[in-house]
């Protein structure tokens, strides 16, 4: 290592570099600070990833079609869901009655649409109640801690352990069978899981420095909840919501199927399926169509929920 000689390797190709190229420019005019990506909000980013997910998009399209059908269906078919035409009892699907008719001669397509409205309405109502109760109790429990947290969690355990069916049966007896009592009965027990989840989220986020930074800036609890905690839990709450709706729709269907749900003449997918099941051997279409709608709706919600949770996963963010 004795000969400290700086040897310049000649440029192998004959390309001549002009003198001008060697004028010094320093750091002027060039900055690597700028990130090359355009500014996008968190939700725009989520939507961008969601759109890339083919299955999730398919779910969204199916759901839109289902909703459009149940809203516009009766108008298009021009029939009344309660109107009985004794001349067309128990028809199979045909050009006039697309899904066929039932044993009293009512148009099954119209009934599936109207029943779907009730089913989906119940799904959304229950989810809404669950979300309101669950997220507020969860936030309080996670934020306050101590005995408040203890009390809320014990109540959760108590309610979570009550046999669901017995409550529904008792409520159905006491309050009568109506959409309202169904929503009430199903929401009564459902918020437990949401409370636990939101509490967990709040406990986790509460540890993060930005909450402490807000406290150090003098922010009051209201501001911390509204500006910091909620926006950061919203993603996971949205996934739970989309995943819960099908659960409630299915729950309603189940209760109606065993005769604890909607009372005639109102109807729902569960009630229709229950009626269709009795004549399954001879007129399978009466069971098939309500079930088909039920299944594709639930599938759509699950696809959307999966897509959302992938799109929201911050680990994939880059």
């Amino acid at each position: 290592m004795s000969n400290l000689k700086g040897k310049l390797e000649r440029l192998e190709n004959s390309e001549v570099l002009s003198d001008d190229l060697f004028t010094r420019v320093g750091t002027a005019g060039l900055s690597s600070e700028q990130k090359n990506q355009p500014s996008i909000t968190y939700w725009a980013d989520v939507w961008r990833r969601f759109r890339k997910n083919k299955m999730a998009l398919l779910g969204l399209i199916i759901l839109t079609l289902v909703v459009l059908t149940i809203i516009l269906g009766p108008i298009i078919s021009g029939k009344d869901y309660q109107y009985m035409d004794s001349s067309v009892k128990k028809l199979g699907p045909n050009s006039q009655y697309w899904f066929g008719t039932d044993d009293m001669g009512r148009d099954l397509f119209t009934r599936v649409c109207v029943g779907g409205r009730i089913s989906i309405l119940i799904g959304f109502c229950c989810t809404f109640v669950m979300f309101i109760i669950g997220s507020s109790l969860g936030t309080i429990a996670g934020l306050k801690g101590g005995w408040v947290d203890n009390l809320i969690m014990r109540v959760c355990e108590f309610i979570g352990n009550l046999p669901y069916l017995i409550i529904v049966v008792i409520l159905a007896v006491v309050m009568g069978r109506s959409v309202f009592s169904l929503v009430f009965a199903m929401s009564l027990t459902s918020w437990v899981g949401t409370t636990r989840m939101v509490r967990g989220q709040v406990l986790q986020i509460r540890q993060q420095d930005f909450i402490q930074a807000a406290t150090a800036l003098g922010a009051d609890p209201k501001r911390i909840i509204l500006r910091h905690l909620l926006p950061n839990t919203l993603g996971i709450i949205m996934v739970t919501i989309t995943m819960s709706v099908p659960g409630f729709i299915f729950g309603e269907a189940f209760l109606s199927y065993i005769g604890l749900g909607i009372r005639p003449p109102q109807t729902s997918w569960g009630a229709l399926a229950s009626a269709g099941q009795q004549r399954l051997m001879f007129y399978p279409h009466e069971l098939f169509f309500p079930c088909l709608m039920l299944v594709i709706t639930i599938l759509a919600f699950h696809l959307i929920g999966d897509g959302l949770s992938d799109a929201l996963d911050p680990k994939l963010r880059k």
Binding site: M1, G6, K7, L8, L21, F22, T23, T27, S32
Partner: protein
Amino acid sequence: MSAQRIIDIKNLTVSFNTYTGTLQAVRGIDLHLKQGEVLAIVGESGCGKTVTAKAVMRLLPTPQAVIGNDSEITFAGKNLLSFTESEMAKIRGKEISMIFQDPMTSLNPTMKIGEQIAESLIIHQNQSRQQANSQALAMLELVKIPNARRRLKQYPFEFSGGMRQRVMIAIALACNPKVLIADEPTTALDVTIQVQIMNLIKDLQQKLNQGIILITHDLGVVASVADRVVVMYAGKIVEEGTVDEIFYQPKHPYTFALLKSIPKLNTNNQEKLYSLAGTPPELINPPLGCPFAARCEFGMKVCRVKYPVIVNFTDSHQGYCWLYHEKADRTGLPVQFLQGVESSAQ
């Protein structure tokens, strides 16, 4: 000095497919490791140093990571990149071992320490359980864990961070590998523990004569253990040389800035720290020319449009910089840059 090269990397490129595009993590590097030397790879986070190490171990996630077709990693005369997964499994842990930054997550929490050390001995050296157990005890004693006999029967949670890193070293060295890759082995540890671990690695290396690739961002650690240093920036090697050449005669403006920006214990409080403006470039669309050009105070027009050619300062000291071209403007360059260069460039 002329020990043979045990690892020879030629034109290694690694890219990752991400949502926003192809991230070129390592962009064509050549480097080698000789028998019995400590080679330090230094650079900032995201410069590609860990990716390089993982490429040698073939531990990069597939299919996200793509290694270039004409890349070569030669170990003992064979190209590791052409090995099958099962051939590679025979190399890992036996011929080339790796220790990681986080000693908390690299041990299996449900297995006793002794079993974890013995495992690789049983797999790679066909030892009986008894042989392996006694060897495991010897290894724990080698890495200076007190009460080794009792410690063998304990689980990882009963060990502190520094002790776990010792266990990791014991596991890595159990089969007496030819190469040890240490990826930021002391970053998660406190300084007083860091000294213990670095001294241990140094002692063992002298005893067992392995080649060590040490990946770190801590220049103090580099100064204390390395023989040779490779400086990486934005997926490229910018300078390479012996530890003295790099610390006392840095030739690349990035190496120079890196060394100057850390305060020494004798730095005067009143002086401003030398600081580099800006941050390293994004590797999704890396710049055409020298990646450091945008932050280089001596940067010239050519730096932004053409990647510099290699400059051999000595047999062991190379760099990639346009400042050493005969037409370059050398006014105001730090003295270190010109030492040994001026005379011959004329």
